[in-house]
């Protein structure tokens, strides 16, 4: 039997201080998915947090190079599983613009209504999970009651509860009916009352405030250097929302505000998202009031012919700016599809954000970034 060669020389390169490494994840409740953060620690303080990615990478960009738009549609719902409809939206809009396909007005309204409902459920999920990270178990039970109500509404129309594949080039695959409109209106009324519950339960809670105030501060300069977008950037006072900045679909027709924070701490990001939920309700309300009659799916040729060249389409997903950048060589299959996802840039800030803070504060900061890992591992 061979004996293993052991190195019996005394190690001389080990520094005897309090430094040690700690693995957070890949299966950790507060990383929300298969994310591992390798932490270099000194006692309870973090010296260097390095996220380790790729555990669930599926290479959607490669798949896009082998499929036409219809076959790739289900993939778009499987990146940001918490808010898939904006991903549907960006993808079909890119093709519509390239191939010059007219979308019926009613379809655009349905897209906006369902996308905003999806943003709402995404924020429900975040709110519950974020507070769970902070050790508050009750709020997630409340937000999930509300989330289920929206999911039921969306399920009736789209056929699924999570990984939606509802939009089509030229419109949507199923029309909304009176039942949908009535249920959505009822929900808006119900949700507005629920904000009081959230505020009583969480926002004014002194334990919550002590955990989030001044924790994980992202300055404007830092956000710029990392390309942070979405509620995270808005929490730092950056007035940037693709829906306003580069309006698409029928968003310019609605009156809504972009909530902003001041300090860029976790509390600001919490407030921004909470206020955004109300703004989504406002958009849905106006869209339901103005909802035009007509077809929900326009005329689309069986085989799309894309022009040669590159083009880009940005939409506001629940976590920030989502950009599809496509290079086409003609035909109906992209030569290259680059998908820029918001969580990727938002998480890349972590090594700088987490330096020198307490481990428990890192959990707060990460929770307030609202990460969806399959979106990063796309």
């Amino acid at each position: 039997m061979e004996t293993a060669q052991l190195n019996l020389e005394p190690a001389t390169d080990i520094q005897h201080d309090n430094r040690y490494y700690l693995n957070m994840g890949p299966q950790h409740p507060s990383t929300h998915g298969v994310l591992r953060v390798l932490l270099e620690m000194d006692g309870e303080y973090i010296l260097d947090p390095q996220p380790v990615l790729g555990y669930g990478h599926r290479m959607h960009e490669k798949m896009a190079e082998h499929k036409n738009w219809m076959a790739f549609m289900p993939n778009t719902g499987r990146m940001d599983y918490a808010a898939a409809l904006p991903y549907n939206h960006g993808f079909v809009s890119l093709f519509e613009r390239l191939c010059g396909i007219e979308v019926p007005e009613r379809a655009e309204y349905i897209r906006v209504i369902t996308s905003e409902l999806n943003r709402l459920v995404s924020h429900h999920l975040w709110l519950g999970a974020f507070l769970l990270d902070l050790g508050a178990f009750t709020p997630i039970l409340y937000t999930f009651i509300d989330r289920e109500k929206v999911l039921d509404i969306l399920e009736d129309i789209t056929g699924s509860r999570l990984t939606y594949c509802y939009f089509r080039v030229g419109g949507v695959c199923k029309d909304i009916d009176d039942k949908f409109v009535t249920r959505t209106r009822e929900f808006i009324k119900y949700q507005r009352e629920r904000f009081d519950v959230y505020n009583k339960l969480v926002t004014g809670n002194i334990i919550f405030l002590k955990r989030v105030e001044g924790v994980g501060v992202i300055s404007k300069d830092m956000a710029l250097r990392y390309g942070v977008t979405g509620p995270v950037a808005r929490g730092s006072g950056i007035n940037y929302d693709v829906r306003k900045n580069e309006p698409y679909s029928v968003y310019p027709r609605f009156d809504f505000e972009i909530p902003l924070g001041e300090n860029g701490d976790s509390l600001d990001r919490y407030m921004v998202r909470l206020n955004e939920m109300e703004q989504s309700l406002r958009i849905i309300e106006q869209a339901l009031d103005q909802l035009p009659a007509g077809p929900f799916l326009g005329k689309v040729p069986k085989k799309l012919k894309m022009p040669v060249g590159d083009s880009s389409f940005a939409v506001e997903a629940a976590r920030g700016e989502l950009t599809y950048y496509m290079v086409s060589g003609g035909g109906d299959i992209p030569y290259r599809l680059k998908i820029r996802v918001p969580s990727y840039s938002n998480l890349s800030i972590l090594p700088e954000l987490g330096q020198g803070i307490l481990l428990s504060d890192l959990v707060t900061a990460m929770g307030s970034l609202d990460l969806v890992i399959p979106e990063i591992d796309r």
């Binding site: 490669k62 710029l224 022009p307 880009s312 950009t323 290079v327 060589g329 030569y335 290259r336």
Partner: protein, 170 residues
């Protein structure tokens, strides 16, 4: 044009970077520019000073050399810039991750998928792929699928050649 965008265009022109205007309604971005690798860092520095943020960095496998594509945008006005830089003979390109820290991960990802070396990168280790898959380079095209860079440049829709239906079928 927004005054800040005008300033950006004229400032860049002063430094000998000429942005070509694109039709936003067709392309979804406002300016494009092709640069040699040695001028990339200077360009990125200019854009950071003009408060443009980095949207993404991605690769594109074409003949004669892989192109690295950068997109920048502005937080306060609609202004998107697409930059294309071809890699050198050694598949290398300078890093911009010390200028835009957000480029760090994007560059590591591009290295994983295309095998591009980002010279001067502080942490050139795989981000998405496992260490042992470093030769995989999954987004490289096969020779049969590889196209010329010039054949993928934008052609105005009305000037598009009529494609043959039969040839399109597969």
């Amino acid at each position: 044009m927004h005054p800040a965008t005008e300033k950006l265009v004229s400032d860049l022109k002063g430094k000998n970077f000429t942005l070509a205007a694109c039709d936003y309604a067709e392309r979804g971005y406002h300016f494009e520019i092709d640069l040699a690798a040695d001028r990339l860092r200077e360009f990125a520095q200019c854009l950071l000073e003009q408060e443009m943020y980095l949207v993404f960095v991605g690769g594109l496998h074409v003949e004669p050399a892989i192109e690295v594509i950068y997109q920048f945008a502005s937080y306060d006005r609609p202004c998107r810039v697409v930059l294309r830089v071809a890699v050198d003979n050694n598949n290398a390109i300078p890093t911009i991750s010390d200028i835009y820290q957000g480029a760090n991960w994007h560059e590591r990802e591009t290295r994983d998928f295309f095998g591009v070396t980002f010279t001067g990168h502080p942490n050139p280790v795989p981000l998405i792929l496992a260490e042992e898959d470093v030769d995989l380079k999954p987004l490289l095209k096969t020779d049969a699928n590889l196209k010329e860079s010039a054949a993928l440049r934008w052609v105005r829709v009305e000037e598009q050649p009529e494609t043959d239906e039969k040839a399109d079928k597969d």
